[in-house]
């Protein structure tokens, strides 16, 4: 245990706190120092709350000194995506329209973090209202990929993933509507999990698309993700869509998986999520991961999910419809940005709404509001929203059929490794294709995990390996993820992030 504090996993830090090797104040300060050192160029954080984090760390140390830690992770600091409401801390969702808004309440997951004693380091950058796959749509400037500062960290949760990859935080919360946890995980060499829809409360998550959004862990190890999901998950009476029944133990599943034995496990490779459109280097790393599963005793077959080819189109109807309605509340009447229209002496409420929304929303947000408004309009509803819902049912049906044959499904997380900043900014469709492999899980509500599969031969950048399981069987993605992680790390001789370029000296 001689690794610097910031390079350790959350589970290791919890052990170090428990053994008295370090204190929460010390390791919170270590991360704040790291943020000060590297976040200038990385820009993972929109807001850092040093004072609040250190106060929480002191309280944690006091609890531990009194012999009554609040949880296994008490004192381990965490970063929170800026789409989750934090009482007293700015919550912008990466948008100008919420600049300066300070929520008067905590999201349920944030309340659970606080109750468990995790100091909150700050709020992480994201594409505006979680719309994007590169974090370039943040109104506050892009986050950069710690593997190559000229490249995107994925999105929308590029801030959380980059914070983990740059060792600015040992844990983070993200949200995943179409891949916003998993795709950033893939391109930054970190772990991200989208839990079963309803497994983690959405209360206080500023909705992009309510029927697709899910809060989940962003970590560097599969075990850490399991620890974090167990901590924030579980039924919440404030979220009607949250599931009342408990999930099987995720931490147990991760520990079991790390043993490396997958004998008897049936794994399905999704035929529709490979081949054309997938980078060779990605496919090679993915295939190697599959080979390791076979070596661990799993039985691998190819399965077909024919409706998945329509997933992207379906998603880009359902999601904008919900977006168009969800974002109507940002009207300058009660909170957030208020812009007086130019050239109007005494503007009406409607004119102020229009001017504020025009100035406060970015292009991608406007694009989706327009798409959704159109698709829900009288005369088009059935053709667009109605059809999309029917296809969504078919996609669920494909998952049901596949899980009749296999225990888990696997695919590459993202078709490519990290692309250059600006490369796809003017081509929305190219940007949307990043989520090709992650979207089906959101449409069906099933859990999905992405873990590092190695570096692509062609670009030398991280590749993500996705594991999908049936609804409520989140334990399976942790078991398989941990087994593959163990096999890969034994090949690499340590975590993939150990191969990442050092950022020291990058500080401004």
């Amino acid at each position: 245990m001689s690794a610097p504090l910031i390079r350790r996993s959350a589970a290791e830090l919890a052990d170090a706190l428990a053994s008295g090797e370090t204190t929460s104040v010390a390791l919170t300060q270590a991360h704040l120092d790291r943020i000060a050192e590297v976040d200038g160029p990385v820009h993972a954080f929109l807001h850092v709350d040093a004072e609040g984090a250190l106060a929480a760390a002191e309280a944690s140390d006091a609890r531990r000194a009194a012999g009554s830690p609040a949880s296994a992770l008490d004192g381990v600091p965490i970063a929170v995506k800026d789409v989750l409401a934090t009482e007293g801390l700015p919550t912008t969702c990466g948008s100008r329209i919420l600049e300066g808004w300070i929520p008067p309440y905590d999201a349920t997951v944030v309340a659970r973090l606080k109750a468990a004693g995790l100091p909150i380091l700050g709020k992480t950058n994201m594409d505006e209202f979680a719309m994007g796959s590169s974090t370039e749509h943040s109104a506050y400037g892009p986050t950069r990929n710690p593997w190559d500062l000229e490249r995107i960290p994925g999105g929308s949760g590029g801030g959380s993933a980059a914070a983990l990859a740059a060792f600015e935080a040992p844990l983070a919360l993200g949200t995943d509507t179409g891949g916003s946890i998993r795709q950033p995980g893939a391109v930054t060499g970190t772990v991200g999990v989208k839990p079963t829809y309803g497994a983690v409360s959405r209360y206080g998550l500023v909705a992009m698309a309510n029927s697709l959004d899910q809060v989940g862990p962003v970590t560097r190890t599969v075990l850490d993700a399991a620890l974090l999901q167990e901590l924030v998950g579980g039924h919440d009476p404030l979220d009607s869509t949250s599931i009342a029944d408990p999930l099987p133990s995720l931490v147990d599943a991760a520990r079991q998986g790390a043993g490396g034995d997958l004998a008897g496990l049936r794994v399905g490779v999704i035929r529709e999520l490979s081949g054309e459109g997938y980078q060779d280097g990605v496919l090679a790393r993915f295939q190697h991961g599959v080979d390791l599963l076979v070596a661990a005793g799993a039985e691998v077959v190819e399965v077909s999910c024919p409706s998945f080819v329509h997933a992207l189109a379906t998603y880009y109807l359902i999601m904008p419809c919900e977006v168009s309605s969800n974002l109507a509340k940002f009207d300058a009447m009660r909170y957030g940005l208020r812009v007086q229209p130019e050239g109007i002496a005494s503007p009406s409420a409607e004119e102020v709404m229009r001017a504020s929304r025009d100035a406060g929303f970015g292009d991608e947000v406007k694009r989706r509001i327009v798409l959704g408004t159109y698709a829900l309009s009288s005369g088009y509803y059935d053709a667009y929203y109605g059809t999309a819902q029917r296809v969504r049912t078919l996609i669920k049906g494909d998952f049901d059929a596949a899980f009749g044959q296999v225990d888990v499904l696997v695919s590459p997380t993202s078709p490519t490794t990290a692309f250059k900043l600006g490369e796809k900014l003017d081509d929305p469709l190219a940007m949307y294709l990043n989520d090709l492999a992650t979207i089906p899980a959101n449409l069906a509500g099933v859990p999905g995990l992405s873990l590092p599969a190695g570096l692509a031969d062609d670009t030398g950048l991280p590749v993500g390996f996705q594991v999908l399981a049936p609804v409520m069987a989140d334990d399976r993605v942790y078991r398989v993820g941990a087994a593959l992680e163990a096999a890969l790390e034994s090949e690499w001789g340590g975590p993939l992030l150990a191969q990442a370029p050092a950022l020291e000296g990058a500080a401004r």
Binding site: A85, T91, R202, E322, A328, K329, S348, S377
Partner: protein, 500 residues
């Protein structure tokens, strides 16, 4: 549409040429302790914006949770209206921008109402009309805007507007009828009777305060005319927020006459929302219903479907009050009212008031007499609903008890009602303050009788001669002297004694 100088066709001429079709949408504010989708209080009259939380303020990230009690009330209303109850239904978002809507969408129900396909029998002058209920669905109320400055009190022209979100999220049930056709000349009365009897039902269910003056019960009146004999409905107008029974009737009548004048002049009806003006008794054009009003409904993704179990629905059916038809028949038998008396009582909207007055101790005839004569006249003269005069059934019973005890006569009792309407206190306080009690002191009466005899020697002589009927003139003189505060029977006895 000009707001002034509407041409109206005489009512009889409307009926000669057209058949009216009515439709009524009634919003009932439930009396649940908490709001539709959050735990905030629903108590009326709190300081603005004190009964709010992230959910009913629509703050980013907040989510709704359905109030089970509101669902229960909705189902009970539906069952009482003979509706079918959905085994499974969803909430939907009705999207439009307005500053008093915290989310800029209203969480309502669209094509999956919790209650549908019901009916209510409405009695008008002894004739029964079956009003078919299309649906009763759940939704949330909006905040309340106050527009300050400007002449109209509307948003246009106002200097600024204040919004109170205490009302935002209060549970509403919207009850929508199918088109009511065939009522002919009775259409205005059927509309009124429907709303009146619906209110009685809501009160009997105990699910709402149902005060029209406080906006607990709000009626929108849809009306169209079709050429006589045609079975195609004409273009309708929707007159919003008609907030008394009397206004419902007047608004229907007005719109029938207005539509008919336009149609007979070769014009066509604009499909629009109209505003009812209580003071002038007319409607004026509101906003035009157009493409702009595309609410882009879609199922509310933050709520799970409402799926009441058949067992629960049956359990709730067991909690329903007696149905109105049975109730009227039972009360008529209990009270011994003639058909005409019963019809008048129902027509005046006084059935419940009479029932409560009898329950408070008055005889059925006395209760009916006060409500249908004196109090109904007062309500009519002042243009308020009979239940909102400021006189309660218990007070009417108390006044009658004073009459029965010989402390008041009918004339004095009417003065007590004057005092009650003026808010002067309890009947006993008013009797004391106004000095209305009957003088039963024979000494004072005897002095007045003697004075009357002395002042009217001719009349006294006639009585002495056995013309007892002449006593009336002396009784009148004594009552006048006593300012009415005497028992006329006792005065008569004293006069006849003196002149025997």
């Amino acid at each position: 549409m000009s707001a002034t100088a509407e041409t109206l066709l005489p009512f009889d001429d409307v009926l000669a040429a057209f058949d009216p079709a009515l439709g009524l949408e009634v919003h009932v504010e439930l009396n649940t302790a908490t709001k539709m989708f959050c735990g905030c209080s629903t108590v009326f009259g709190g300081e603005p914006n004190t009964q709010v939380c992230p959910t009913c303020l629509g703050l980013p990230g907040a989510m709704p949770v359905v109030n089970g009690k509101a669902v229960e009330s909705a189902i009970r209303i539906g069952l009482a209206l003979n509706c079918r109850i959905a085994e499974w239904c969803r909430f939907a978002r009705k999207n439009y921008f307005y500053p008093d809507m915290p989310k800029n969408f209203q969480t309502s129900q669209y094509d999956e109402p919790i209650c549908f396909d019901g009916w209510m029998d409405v009695e008008v002058d002894g004739e029964t009309f079956r009003v078919e209920i299309e649906r009763a669905h759940m939704e949330e109320d909006t905040g309340k805007s106050t527009h300050v400055g400007g002449a109209t009190g509307r948003i246009h022209g106002a200097d600024y507007s204040l919004v109170d979100y205490n009302r935002a999220g209060i549970p509403l049930i919207e009850i929508v009828t199918k088109p009511i056709v065939g009522a002919g000349e009775r259409a205005p009365e059927v509309a009124r009777a429907y709303v009146q009897q619906l209110r009685e039902l809501i009160v009997a269910l105990g699910v709402s305060e149902a005060r029209m003056d406080q906006g607990n019960l709000r009626a929108d009146v849809n009306l169209s005319l079709a050429p006589k004999g045609s079975d195609v409905l004409g273009t309708r107008t929707e007159t919003k927020n008609v907030n008394s029974f009397r206004s419902v009737e007047r608004a229907v009548r007005f719109e029938m006459q207005r539509h008919a004048a336009i149609l007979q002049g070769g014009g066509s009806i604009l499909q629009e929302t109209r505003h009812w003006h209580e003071d002038t008794g007319i409607t004026t054009s509101g906003r035009e219903k157009s493409d702009a009003e595309d609410y882009r409904y879609f199922p509310e993704p933050d709520l799970v479907p409402v799926a009441p179990s058949p067992e629960w629905v049956e359990e709730l059916r067991g909690t329903l009050p007696e149905n109105p038809t049975q109730r009227r028949a039972r009360l008529q038998a209990e009270w011994g009212f003639s058909d005409l008396e019963m019809r008048d009582t129902v027509g005046a909207g006084a059935l419940g008031l009479v029932e409560e007055t009898i329950a408070a101790g008055a005889s059925p005839q006395a209760a009916r007499k006060w409500w249908l004569s004196d109090l109904a006249r007062r309500a009519n003269d002042t243009g308020v609903e009979i239940g909102e005069l400021g006189v309660s059934p218990a007070q009417v019973a108390a006044v009658q008890a004073l009459v029965d005890a010989g402390s008041l006569n009918d004339k004095l009792a009417r003065q007590v009602f004057d005092g009650l309407v003026a808010g002067e206190g309890t009947p006993e306080e008013i009797v004391a303050a106004r000095g209305l009690a009957i003088v039963s002191d024979d000494g004072a009466l005897t002095a007045a009788v003697d004075a009357a005899i002395a002042a009217n020697p001719d009349v006294a002589a006639k009585i002495r001669d056995g013309k007892v009927a002449a006593a009336g003139a002396l009784i009148g003189a004594v009552m006048k002297e006593m300012r009415g505060q005497a028992d006329a029977g006792r005065v008569r006895e004293l006069i006849l004694e003196r002149l025997a």
